[in-house]
């Protein structure tokens, strides 16, 4: 009950903040790039707020609980991705002064077709990323309040659409900054209070010793909606369908739907693909071989770092800084804010393994963050803390979905619509952005409604792999190499996207089991990114004659602001921003 109020408060607060920011969004530049006037701290909080999606708020804790400490490399890779963005992309990207990612592609390479290609990839990546956010919102609302699945999807879709249409990038920046601090508070406070209440970590033998998850002293009853294939990590006994059964260590069993009961201290069966090792191995971040071996860890790190570098909704945020140096300072602050947030998910996975073994039976480790507070602290305090994390999770869906929709709306209205028919002045351009914010949400909502029963976690991995294999090489070479040509970039992005997609679908189709091949197929970045780079360089060298004027491009990318080269820098500033009277004077 409290949780309903908490979720409603976040929703109303977000909507209120969004509506309040309408008056801030007057110009086209406000809608697309927040008039490039966002200060480092605000922007850093907004970037972090946008980036910390449900995958970070709920997913990391769930994955660590399920797979073991090896999943702790995920937040490390996510954060390291921002460090590489800082080193190679942040300042030049801002200095170039585009409106959208596709804008950059066309202006840098002097080819209108690059805009179309880039726009298509932006829509693909953001779409794949948006659907799981909506699905997560539906499931969370269902678990927390008992509301039907479609309600959460429609509510989040509607609110995000409205906020983006009203406030554009400028409004969303404030909403996301607010949501970053809300999320951090919502994950940090319960973690700290629970640890104080419990007097440290419970069941340390299960966590770090030779123990496996076991039923609590008063037994464990789990309700299964459908039959579940499980593995017993140790010898155990259980009651299913009213009949008592014995299980050997390592035995695979298919539990029937209905009630499953385990008596006190019985070893808990784990749903498929959970880590069945005892605590001492479960808590080891890397092993010398096998599915948690160094190959898996390195390919995971490379995939997350390069993927983060190519995510269009992240890249577009760098345009909102006032200048290149501010973009750098913003990114350093992002590193600090992510550090703060990522301290806490691991607390939930440790508490979850110790106190919520039932989630292993159903395989719903993803909801560990939502469930742990009530299990660890029975009664009202636990319910209050549970409501707080539910509110934080909802803020995560809202802020990430908002950022994605800003990217989608910008691409739809400016890169695609603008090509079909030129906008008639600034008023028309703003109208189109707002219309796109409404239209761009329709398809993702429909897909999310249809995907209620499907495991769509693969979509985010796919989005990351495509981002890593297309935009990451395009930006790195486009910024630092004079020789990149439009045919080279197009060929490299196509090869990268095809190889990444092919690998992921092969992995889904043939189920290679654990091992080196599996890590390659689920994280193809290790192969597809070098291939994309090689293709870009080779084709660019072969089409040397089509090199754009490198001197002007280098000046626009790398010359620091304040040289009095205003006219020259503006050569690359998109037409929409040179609208004259409606655009505020840039100082």
């Amino acid at each position: 009950m409290i949780a309903i109020f908490a979720v409603a408060a976040v929703t109303v607060g977000t909507l209120g903040l969004g509506t309040w920011t309408v008056r801030l969004a007057r110009t086209t530049s406000d809608l697309f790039v927040a008039s490039r006037a966002v200060s480092p701290w605000w922007n850093a909080a907004a970037i972090s707020g946008e980036y910390l999606s449900a995958a970070s708020f709920l997913g990391i804790a769930g994955l660590v609980m399920k797979l073991g400490a090896v999943a702790l490399w995920l937040p490390v890779g996510f954060t390291a991705g921002y460090l590489t963005l800082l080193l190679f992309v942040a300042a030049p990207l801002r200095r170039y002064g585009s409106y959208t990612i596709s804008d950059f592609a066309e202006a840098r390479l002097g080819s209108p077709r690059m805009r179309l290609l880039a726009a298509g990839i932006v829509l693909g990546i953001t779409g794949f990323y948006l659907v799981p956010q909506l699905k997560g919102a539906g499931i969370t609302l269902q678990q927390v309040t008992g509301a039907p699945y479609w309600l959460g999807v429609v509510v989040v879709g509607g609110i995000v659409s409205l906020n983006v249409a009203l406030g554009g990038m400028r409004g969303i920046t404030y909403v996301q900054a607010f949501q970053f601090w809300l999320k951090t508070f919502a994950i940090a406070l319960p973690a700290c209070l629970l640890l104080i209440y419990l007097g440290g970590l419970p069941s340390q033998n299960t966590l770090f010793g030779d123990g496996v998850p076991r039923a609590p002293a008063d037994g464990l009853s789990v309700h299964l909606d459908h039959s579940e294939r499980v593995v017993f990590p140790a010898a155990s006994s259980y009651t299913a369908g009213g009949n008592p059964h014995l299980a050997r260590a390592g035995q695979r069993v298919t539990l029937p739907p209905g009630e499953v009961h385990l008596s006190a201290n019985a070893a808990v069966p784990l749903a498929q693909d959970a880590n069945t090792d005892p605590g001492s191995l479960w808590s080891r971040p890397v092993e010398s071989g096998g599915s948690n071996g160094p190959l898996f860890v390195y390919s995971l790190l490379i995939a997350t770092v390069l993927g983060t570098m190519g995510l269009p909704h992240i890249l577009v945020r760098f345009y909102t800084s006032p200048d290149g140096s501010t973009a750098r300072r913003t990114t350093v602050r992002v590193l600090g804010l992510l550090w703060l947030f990522y301290l806490f998910p691991v607390v939930y996975s440790l508490l979850g393994r110790a106190l919520a073994p039932g989630l292993y039976v159903t395989g719903q480790t993803d909801s560990v963050v939502l469930r742990v507070p009530e299990l660890a602290w029975p009664g009202e305090p636990g319910q209050l803390l549970g409501a707080l994390v539910a509110a934080g999770a909802f803020a995560a869906f809202l802020s990430t979905a908002s950022g994605l929709l800003v990217s989608i709306s910008g691409t739809l209205s400016y890169d695609l619509w603008g090509r079909v028919r030129r906008a008639r002045g600034a008023e028309d351009r703003r109208r189109r952005f707002r219309a796109s914010a409404a239209v761009g949400m329709v398809l993702p909502v429909v897909v999310a409604l249809g995907a209620a029963g499907l495991d769509i976690g693969v979509l985010v991995g796919w989005a990351f792999a495509i981002a890593a294999s297309t935009f990451c090489p395009m930006f790195l070479l486009g910024i630092w190499w004079r020789g990149l040509t439009a045919p080279g970039a197009a060929a490299g992005m196509t090869v990268g996207a095809l190889v990444a997609t092919g690998a992921i679908f092969t992995g889904l189709a043939v189920d290679p089991g654990p091992g080196a091949l599996a890590s390659l197929l689920t994280q193809p970045a290790v192969v597809s990114v070098p291939l994309a780079f090689a293709t870009m360089i080779a084709v660019s060298l072969a089409t040397r004659a089509r090199r754009p004027d490198a001197d002007v491009q280098q000046l626009a990318l790398h010359a620091p602001e304040g040289l009095g080269l205003a006219q020259l820098e503006r050569a690359t500033v998109p037409a929409a921003e040179r609208e004259g009277p409606e655009h505020p004077v840039r100082t």
Binding site: L72, S280, P560
Partner: protein, 111 residues
């Protein structure tokens, strides 16, 4: 941020362009090279540290038997110290990169 031409004289865009393509271009190449070298050295430092950690954890299995506040050291090493390290590398890089930009500004803005 943008300044008018120095000494109160307002220069036309053509002057600026001429200056930029004549000797400004040489300086710009030098700046881009210096920035790239700085970024790559920071990248090497960060890849070295991050990349060494999984190897360290495998090659020194003894670390697993060390616990701090009851938590095994390998878990702590992944969960905590990398993040402040990233911030430190990022902060150092940002200061140096801004300093390079500033030096370039002085060079080109010379009367």
């Amino acid at each position: 941020m943008r300044e008018e031409g120095r000494g109160g004289r307002r220069r036309t865009p053509r002057d600026e362009l001429a200056e930029a393509t004549a000797h400004g271009d040489v300086y710009l190449r030098r700046l881009v090279r210096a920035q790239l070298a700085l970024s790559i050295s920071a990248l090497v430092a960060f890849i070295g540290l991050l990349g060494a950690l999984p190897l360290l954890l495998i090659l020194v299995p003894h670390l697993a038997s060390v616990s701090i506040v009851h938590i095994p050291l390998p878990l702590l090493l992944v969960a905590v110290p990398l993040f402040p390290l990233f911030v430190a590398i990022g902060w150092t890089y940002q200061r140096r990169a801004d300093a390079l930009d500033e030096a370039f500004r002085e060079l080109v803005g010379r009367p």
